[in-house]
Structures are given as structure tokens and as C-alpha cells.
């Protein structure tokens, strides 16, 4: 799985990534006496009506502090293109998902084999409840390396999350893009169609054709809005007052080749994977058609023989089970292809976004130079 799904740099031999499990919301349903509006009641309501809403989450509202926490987590623990993950906490208000807090998940280490993440999570949630932090799971976050996050592990995790909690999302934080000048945080959910398929676990070509799902309909992106309370606003004013003006304007940086190279390298790898997959599928369909032909021929011969025997008055040959003789070849699972296609699409999108920004910058530089 790691060979097909992940970029070899990211998932170095650790198969599969264990993502935070969503088994919590049923445990903690008591209401926390807090200064803020009661959240838990609304959430349990939403959870119980799961399945009747088409797309329960139209917008995501994140507290500024959560953004800072995610950035910090990656910065401190995520160097070396490791993927960092964590859990999002919050509540659901009408059609908005509010994320009010988060906590990071420790990295997997070889010696800590089964160090019991469930227990870590439980303890964390219990402790946070004591200090009146919303303790409801609403999703999880993950950092990504140049946009390569469409993988089997992510799909499985998000599926189990969305299955347990209707409104959960996965936040993908791209630190490299953020380092280039603008915060890159995206929220994804699985489309209902994809949820259906995952539930059936029917990944054959026929199954996918029935659901009529393309790589563009795998994930739906939910718009994100950042919200700050008044007190945090005051803090912001204070920070601006006191901190040095370190506005580096990374965004206007003209150099692009390094980033482009890496992106294209990843894109090429995935395209290679995809072509391998296509070859596999082609051989399968060729085998299938050949087998059909053989079956046909066999049947015909049978019929001829039977006709002859009838004419001679001999007993007919027993009908043999065709299927046992011609075992149909296994149809290759198409889920991986779908994932690869999705990933390729994502890379292309990122590359295009990057090039459009750079073209803009180059034209600006030309204008600047032209005035001299």
C-alpha cells in the first residue's frame, strides 16, 4: 500500500499511518459548565440526525488560536518531511462547523509500538474538559508535503471519522506553501458518493461505474473562515505594537525553480504510478476478453458434440460448470487508480496556482524595470 499510495519520502516504510480514531463522542456527552454557549447539546442532536442531511457542513469557522497551534506543531515536530497529525475539537452550529481547539498527536516511534493512542486521546479529552474546552471531536488535521495527501490512509481515516461523526472534516495544512507567503489551510470532506462506495467496499470497475464517480468528485472542499474573539483582537493590536516589523513579503519572492522542480518531480512519480496501473487494467481487460472468447468456443464445441451425439443416439455429455473451468480473472481494484488520479489532479492544480502567481510577479517586475 505504501508503494502505491504514498510518496516514498513521506511514508518511509511505516505502513499504514495510524490516524486518530474517532471513537469518542459517544462517551462524553455531559455538558461542561462554561462561560461560553453550550455546545454539546447541539452536537449530539446533529449526530443523531446523521444521514438525513445532504451536506451538513457549508462552512468552517476556525479560531485564530487553532491556526497558530497547527503552525507551531508542524514547525517544531514536523521537520524532515514527516507528516504531523492532530485532533480538532469544536462544535457544530447550524450549518457551520466551528473549530475551537486542537491538540497534536505524537509521532509514531518504532519502540513505542502500540503506545495506546486511544488512551492518549482519552486522557487529553478528559483533561481538556476540566478546563472547559469543547471536548467534541469534529475532525483531524494533517500536514502535507507539496500537496501529496490523497492516499489510502487518509481516505480510510476520513471515512471512519465521517462515518462516526457526520460533520467531520480533515484540515490539510501545507507548510511549504505557507512559508511562501500565504497561509495554506484547506478543509476536505468525502462526498456522499464516495462514502457509499467505501461502505460497500466494492472497488471493482463495475461498482465504480454504478456510482458514477470520478476523481473530481472524491473530496469536496469546504470554505474556511477565521474568526477571532474580541480579546484576541486586543492581543493582536498589542502584538503589532510591540513586535518588530518583520514583514518579509515572502509572497513577492521571484524565485520559483526550486519549488517547481520538486512539484514536477512528484507529479512525474505519480504519473508513472498511474501508467503502471493503466497497464495492469489493460492486461486485465485483454485477459477477460480472451477468456470470453475461449468460453464461447468451448460452449460452441460442446453444442456441436452434443448435436453429434444426439444424432448418433449416445448419451449427451453432462453439462459442466463453465465457471469452474474458466475462472474469471480478478478485476483489479480501481480505488487506487482513483486515488492516484485525484492526487495527480491535486498536483496539477497546485502547480497551476503557483505558476499563475509567479507570472503575475514577473509582469510586475517587468513594469518596475521598465520605468528605469
Amino acid at each position: 500500500m505504501a508503494a502505491v499510495c504514498g510518496n516514498a519520502d513521506v511514508f518511509t516504510g511505516r505502513v499504514p499511518l495510524r490516524n486518530p480514531s474517532p471513537s469518542f463522542p459517544r462517551v462524553f456527552t455531559t455538558q461542561a459548565a462554561s462561560v461560553r454557549a453550550p455546545g454539546p447539546v447541539i452536537s449530539t442532536e446533529m449526530a443523531s440526525t446523521a444521514g438525513t442531511l445532504d451536506s451538513p457542513v457549508k462552512q468552517i469557522q476556525i479560531e485564530g488560536m487553532v491556526v497558530l497551534k497547527i503552525i507551531k506543531h508542524y514547525q517544531e515536530e514536523g521537520q524532515g518531511s514527516e507528516v504531523v497529525q492532530g485532533v480538532l475539537l469544536g462544535l457544530v452550529v447550524e450549518d457551520r462547523l466551528e473549530i475551537t481547539n486542537c491538540f497534536p498527536f505524537p509521532q509514531h516511534t518504532e519502540d513505542d509500538a502500540d503506545f495506546d493512542e486511544v488512551q492518549y486521546q482519552m486522557e487529553m479529552m478528559r483533561s481538556l474538559r476540566h478546563v472547559n474546552i469543547d471536548h467534541l471531536h469534529v475532525g483531524w488535521y494533517q500536514s502535507t508535503y507539496y500537496g501529496s495527501f490523497v492516499s489510502r490512509a487518509l481516505l480510510d481515516s476520513q471515512f471512519s471519522y465521517q462515518h462516526a461523526i457526520e460533520e467531520s472534516v480533515v484540515l490539510i495544512y501545507d507548510p511549504i506553501k505557507t512559508g511562501q507567503g500565504s497561509l495554506s489551510l484547506k478543509a476536505y470532506r468525502l462526498t456522499p458518493k464516495l462514502m457509499e462506495i467505501c461502505k460497500e467496499k466494492d472497488f471493482t470497475p463495475e461498482g465504480l461505474k454504478k456510482a458514477n464517480i470520478g476523481f473530481e468528485h472524491m473530496f469536496e472542499e469546504v470554505p474556511i473562515v477565521i474568526r477571532n474573539s474580541h480579546l484576541i483582537n486586543v492581543l493582536m493590536w498589542e502584538l503589532e505594537d510591540k513586535s518588530t516589523v518583520a514583514d518579509k513579503h515572502e509572497l513577492l519572492n521571484l524565485s520559483s525553480s526550486n519549488h517547481l522542480e520538486k512539484s514536477l518531480q512528484l507529479l512525474m512519480d505519480r504519473v508513472d504510478d498511474m501508467s503502471q496501473d493503466i497497464v495492469k487494467f489493460n492486461t486485465y481487460s485483454r485477459n477477460l476478453s480472451k477468456q470470453q472468447q475461449q468460453k464461447h468456443q468451448y460452449l460452441q464445441r460442446r453444442q456441436q458434440e452434443n448435436a453429434q451425439r444426439q444424432s448418433r443416439g449416445e448419451p449427451q455429455l453432462p453439462e459442466e460448470d463453465i465457471n469452474k473451468m474458466f475462472k474469471p480473472p480478478q478485476p483489479p481494484p480501481r480505488m487506487d487508480t482513483l486515488l492516484i488520479a485525484g492526487q495527480v489532479n491535486n498536483y496539477c492544480q497546485n502547480v497551476k496556482e503557483f505558476t499563475s502567481q509567479n507570472l503575475g510577479k514577473l509582469f510586475m517586475a517587468e513594469a518596475l524595470q521598465g520605468h528605469n
Binding site: A33, S34, V35, R36, Q61, E63, G64, V67, K69, I71, K72, H73, Y74, Q75, N101, P104, F105, S127, V131, N132, G179, G181, S182, L183, K209, G214, F215, I224, V225, I226, R227, N228, S229, H230, L231, V234, L235, M236, E238, L239, E240, A246, D247, K248, H249, L251, L252, S256, L267, T337, A341, N345, C348, K352, E353, L359, G360, A365, Q369, N372
Partner: protein, 297 residues
Amino acid sequence: MSVFGPVVKIHPVVLASICDSYERRNEGASRVIGTLLGTIDKHSIEVTNCFSVPHNESEDEVAVDMEFAKNMYELHKRVSPTEVIIGWYATGFDITEHSVLIHEYYSREATNPIHLTADTALQSGKMNIRAYVRLAHLSVLCLKNSEGISECQYVFYSAQMGVPGKTVGVMFTPLSVKYIYYDTERIGVDLLQRTRMTPGRTKGLTSDLSQVAGSASRVQDMLTTVLAYIEDVLSGKVTADNSVGRFLMDLVNKVPTISAEDFENMLNSNINDLLMVTYLSNLTQAQIALNEKLVLL
């Protein structure tokens, strides 16, 4: 403020967490306290994380849930093993006697705890953030006031004083506080600062060219300010300042003087690269879409 002892460098995420836990305090609690985590250097103390600790405070006694604090620290250590307890914070305005007691507890946990105060009640119109330490310890006291007008953060350094043999008093000495950011953190904070302007205190995330446009307009604003200043100086309204003049010189020299031809070449080759990559990615996308359609036939 006296520059005594190490400098305290605070990350904005710590302050945001403190604000948040203050907003979520229990009914009747006037302030919240919590533990500060970070790293200690020879000359500076960097505060990178924090978590709040439930506590009860009344006129004559104070109770801190130490078990909780220990537990939380263990959990946090799992994620970032390099962070240690370096002190504690409290919102509120002043250092009270209870603070001394709590400080005692924390001096058992860390060698030189700092006490951070953040004035969330904004008593003096600003959120003052100060750090204190006992003459052997740094304590970071966060005073947070609920009115939201200003926050005082004071970092105190506490010292023992008094007549030997009698009750020993504790003196908290202030330390200098700096705010420090990682690069990505800076960008995140910049985005958050833009929420100040919108009425609902919200901000969506933009993408693509609009970001470049935004950045360019900000540079343009800055240039306008600079130009206005230059006009003033030229017309004699403002006396010229040499250091500013030097900065302006640097600024103008930053635009490299390249011959027009060379620049054309560089520009064209860059544009060609980008266009080629765009073409390739469009081609790839068309290809996979086509493949999809074929498979699903």
C-alpha cells in the same frame, strides 16, 4: 524596564491560548492560571506552549489541581519531548499572596520558574504582558483583564528579601519580554491581524493572484507613505533625518540595474518555463479525465 536576567521570548500561540482559557473560565473565577512550557537557553527563555490548570481561589486559600498539571505535562511531553516546564502564568492585574504560594509549587517543578502576567481585564488601556522572576527564578505573570481594553503582561523575577531569621518575603523582579515568531507563524499572525478590520471579526482565506495583488497593494501603500515623507522633506516641512536618508538610498539601490536586453532574456525564459509547466499540467489533467471516461465506458 531593567534588563536583568535572561530575556523572555514568547510565541503568540501562548498568548492566544491564555486569552482563550481566560474566556472559558468558570463562573466566579476572577483569574486563570496555567503552566508554561518551553526551552531554556543561557541568555533567553523561550516560551512555546502552555496549558491551563484548574484552580480555586478564595480570600484566604488557594487550591491548585496539581495532579492535573502533572498529567497534562506528561501528555504534552509525548508530543514534544524537548519542552520543559519553565514557569506559570496567571491572568489578573497584580501579584497576590496566592501567587507566591503557587510560585512555590512551581519552583519545585522547575529550577527557575518565571511568572507571566497578562492583563486581560485591560486595566490600563493596554494588554500589558510582563514577566517576573524570583531573583533566582523567572516567573511570568500574565495579567488578563476581562474588559478587553488592554492587557498587561508582566514577567517578574522574584527575589528573597527580608530580615534573616524572620519571615522571608519574596520580591518579583520584572524581566524584558520579546515576541518571537517562526516564519510561518509570522504569516499566520499577519492573516489573523487582518481579522481586526472586518466587522464580524472574520476573514476568509484567499488564493491565487488575489494574494499577490494584496501584497503588492500593501507595498504600494508603504511606498506612498515614504513618498509623502520625501515630499515633506523637500518642501522643508520636515527636517531631513540622515538615517532615514540612508535607508532610502538602500531602497533605491535595491532595484538592480541590468541592461534592458539581459532583463528581457531573463524575463522571457522565466515566463516560458512557467507557461510550459502550465501547459504540461493542463495536458495531464485532460489525460486523466479522458482515462477516467474510457475506463467507465
